[in-house]
């Protein structure tokens, strides 16, 4: 039975592409995107190196999964509406906007790129297909074809300030529960301060670290407690994640930041320490802050990894690696490694907290994506794709290590790695990095 196609207003794709070409002020916020797209379409040498390095093409080496072929879907639209020759040929031989005149297929294909940027690292001319896929995704978003769970997450962020759409009461309950856990485990009153004006540090974990994987937050709370830090979280802005970045929706990407920038400013904190979410950290630190989306910010921004690694280097934390006796390896989250250059810090932390740390093959700056990047790990609808195609390489690498524990630095990777381990029947435990600090830290 043929599926019913969504109605897309004619001309919508063209209007959007022209808007990009004219560098609409809002798109312009991510300065490089329109020009990068224009350049990339002119400079590809068609050498195929990107395909060799792409985890998706590795999983299914055919034309559909080829990075250049996927990007071509976006580039041909851009050319058709914005370049002289594109318009000329279209006037003579008009073609539909989308392959098979199917916008849903276009949407599907844009979500077959993990936006991991491995291609960009190896492309001889420096083409970053994630940028092109993101432009495609922004059009998908405009057409209302963003996968429902991602669209819902973005909607929740606007409505409630967090992806899960949890209420303030649910958050307060979760915090109370974590404080009780900490008390039970350590016998100490380790508070998680909320909305404390004038605190030095504003801590911003992804909401999943409060509501689902509390061990990371417990680890951070113990660290702050151990060094007597003056810190706080916000009961209104406690979700350091960014789905707008994933869906290509620039408006949402920009305003999701505003939420916690305001909270940090209002509390008068001097340092924002961000938790284990690579997307949020990359957008906040390298786009919003460096790109001055909201002017010069009156506070510094760092990641939990840099913060903790610095404390370890200066001997401010006492850690007992014996508390994590099993073999541990580390999976670099793309957004932290390729996007933010944070590669050494998590390793320093893991080496200090685990008795036996071993490298994942090809680990580091140019690691292979877990297969759930670019928001895919939140999509149940593409589970088979994630397990058998995009996650194929990672599954092989996980099998190659002798590790019992795979630690990672991003919530999305964590979800994907867990599913890979279950699907491929690997008896592995998947953890966050600060979760292992939580086990190893010695409080005096």
């Amino acid at each position: 039975m043929e599926r019913e196609k969504k109605y897309i207003p004619p001309g919508l794709a063209g209007t959007y592409m022209r808007r990009i070409a004219e560098s609409d002020p809002f798109v312009r916020e991510i300065q490089d995107e329109p020009s990068a797209l224009r350049l990339y379409m002119d400079t590809c040498t068609k050498c195929g190196v990107c395909a060799q390095e792409c985890p998706v093409y590795y999983g299914q080496p055919d034309k559909r999964m080829h990075p250049v072929e996927r990007s071509r879907q976006v580039i041909r639209l851009y050319k058709k509406y914005t370049t002289f020759w594109g318009r000329f040929w279209n006037a003579i031989f008009p073609k539909p906007d989308f392959e098979n005149n199917d916008a849903e297929l276009f949407a599907e294909r844009m979500y077959e790129c993990l936006t991991c940027r491995r291609c960009a690292a190896f492309c001889p001319v420096g083409i970053d297909h994630s940028v092109i896929s993101r432009v495609g995704r922004s059009l998908v978003d405009l057409m209302g074809l963003t996968p429902p769970s991602l669209a819902q997450g973005t909607h929740n962020s606007f409505e409630t300030g967090n992806l899960e759409g949890a209420s303030v009461e649910a958050f307060l309950d979760a915090i109370q529960f974590i404080e009780e856990e900490l008390k039970e485990e350590t016998g100490r009153d380790i508070a998680i301060p909320l909305d404390r004006e004038g605190a030095e540090i504003f801590f911003l974990p992804p909401s999943g670290d409060v509501l689902v994987y509390a061990e990371n937050l417990m680890g951070m709370a113990k660290i702050f407690h151990a060094i007597g830090a003056d810190w706080t979280m916000s009961s209104r802005a406690y979700d350091g994640s960014n789905f707008g970045f994933t869906t290509g929706n620039n408006f949402s990407m920009k305003y999701e930041n505003k939420h916690y920038i305001d909270a940090c400013e209002k509390l008068g904190c001097k340092l924002m320490v961000m938790g284990e979410c690579g997307h949020a950290y990359r957008v906040m630190k390298f786009m919003a802050s460096e790109g001055q989306w909201w002017g010069t910010l009156p506070f510094e921004i760092t990641s939990g990894f840099e913060y903790t690694a610095q404390l370890i280097r200066t001997g401010k934390l006492k850690l007992d690696p014996g508390k994590n006796p099993d073999v541990v390896t580390y999976h670099d989250a793309c957004q932290f490694a390729a996007g933010c250059g944070i590669v050494e810090e998590p390793r320093e932390i893991l080496k200090a907290t685990c008795a036996d740390y071993r490298e994942m093959p090809d680990g580091g700056y140019t690691q292979w994506c877990c297969g759930g990047g670019g928001g895919l790990s939140a999509l149940r609808s593409v589970r088979a794709f994630r397990m058998e195609i995009s996650g194929k390489k990672k599954a092989e690498q996980m099998r190659e290590t002798d590790a019992k524990i795979v630690s990672t630095s991003c919530l999305q990777c964590r979800t994907q790695l867990k599913e890979i381990a279950r699907h491929h029947k690997m008896p592995l435990q998947i953890t966050g990095v600060h979760e292992l600090v939580n086990n190893a830290i010695v409080l005096e």
Binding site: L39, Y40, P61, H66, G341, Y365
Partner: protein, 261 residues
């Protein structure tokens, strides 16, 4: 000189050269309209039109951000540019093919300098051109075969790419054959160029293959702006977006300033 030779040597250049220059300038203008990486090198640009452009320089999609001294960045980028080190580390066979093709092209261009130099460098320049065009022909053949044989390359290749590579190959092969045939003297070349500049027809002594070489060279100029050969200019802009020399050098994360302080 028959009609065909007259057209190729004395009429087509008036079409091909301006076409190439205009198309390339349009491209560069389009790239610069958004962004010009060279502007970050102009520290005092405030108040000028450059100032407006320079303000646009906010590399927010860079890859592997880390702090290195400008000097280290430049050293790594130049090394990557001259030796294609990034590609070398990834695919040695492809590196061999593409680096030698570019080296051959450079040698061919260098050999043409004798037209404007007031010295008699014919012997050495003909040797350089012979080596250069030979290198280009061998590596160009490899690249074309690679395009046909390897699936991931073939999948993304269309008619224009085959055409461009075929013309490039014809350009180098005809150059090679001209050189084997004894080449063209500087004097004849100067006559030819001055004839073109003055729009007068100079009768020159050249091997027959020279006409085919000129045809291939001019077709090449026409197809460059529409084919994957356009990376010859865009690469510098494109790499710059990544905001780091890592990808150029193929050395990831090394040479960073210590972030520990």
């Amino acid at each position: 000189m028959n009609g065909f030779e007259f057209f190729v040597l004395y009429r087509l250049p008036y079409l091909a050269v301006p076409f190439y220059l205009i198309m390339l300038s349009v491209r560069i203008w389009v790239w610069m309209r958004f962004y010009n990486p060279a502007l970050k090198l102009l520290p005092r640009a405030r108040g000028s039109v450059y100032g407006v452009w320079k303000r646009q320089y906010r590399p927010t999609i860079h890859i592997f951000p880390g702090s290195r001294s400008q000097r280290t960045e430049w050293k790594r980028a130049i090394k990557g540019f001259v030796f294609f080190t990034g590609l070398y580390k990834r695919d040695k066979v492809l590196w061999m093919g593409s680096w030698s093709l570019h080296l051959g092209l450079l040698l061919v261009i260098v050999a043409h300098a004798r037209v404007i130099l007031p010295l008699n460098l014919d012997l050495i320049c003909l040797r350089i051109a012979l080596i250069g065009s030979g290198l280009m022909t061998v590596s160009g053949t490899y690249l074309l075969l690679r395009r046909i044989i390897i699936q991931r390359v073939r999948e993304i290749t269309d008619f224009r790419d085959y055409l461009a590579e075929f013309i490039l190959l014809s350009f180098s092969l005809t150059a090679f054959l001209v050189m084997l045939d004894g080449g063209v003297s500087s004097e004849a070349l100067r006559h030819y160029v001055s004839g073109l500049l003055m729009n007068t027809v100079e009768v020159i002594e050249v091997p027959d293959m020279f006409v085919w070489h000129m045809l291939a060279a001019q077709l090449l100029l026409i197809v460059i702006p529409f084919s994957h050969l356009l990376h010859l200019g865009g690469i510098f802009f494109s790499r710059e977006f990544l905001g780091t020399s890592d990808t150029f050098a193929g050395e990831f994360g090394s040479g960073l300033k210590d972030r520990r302080n």
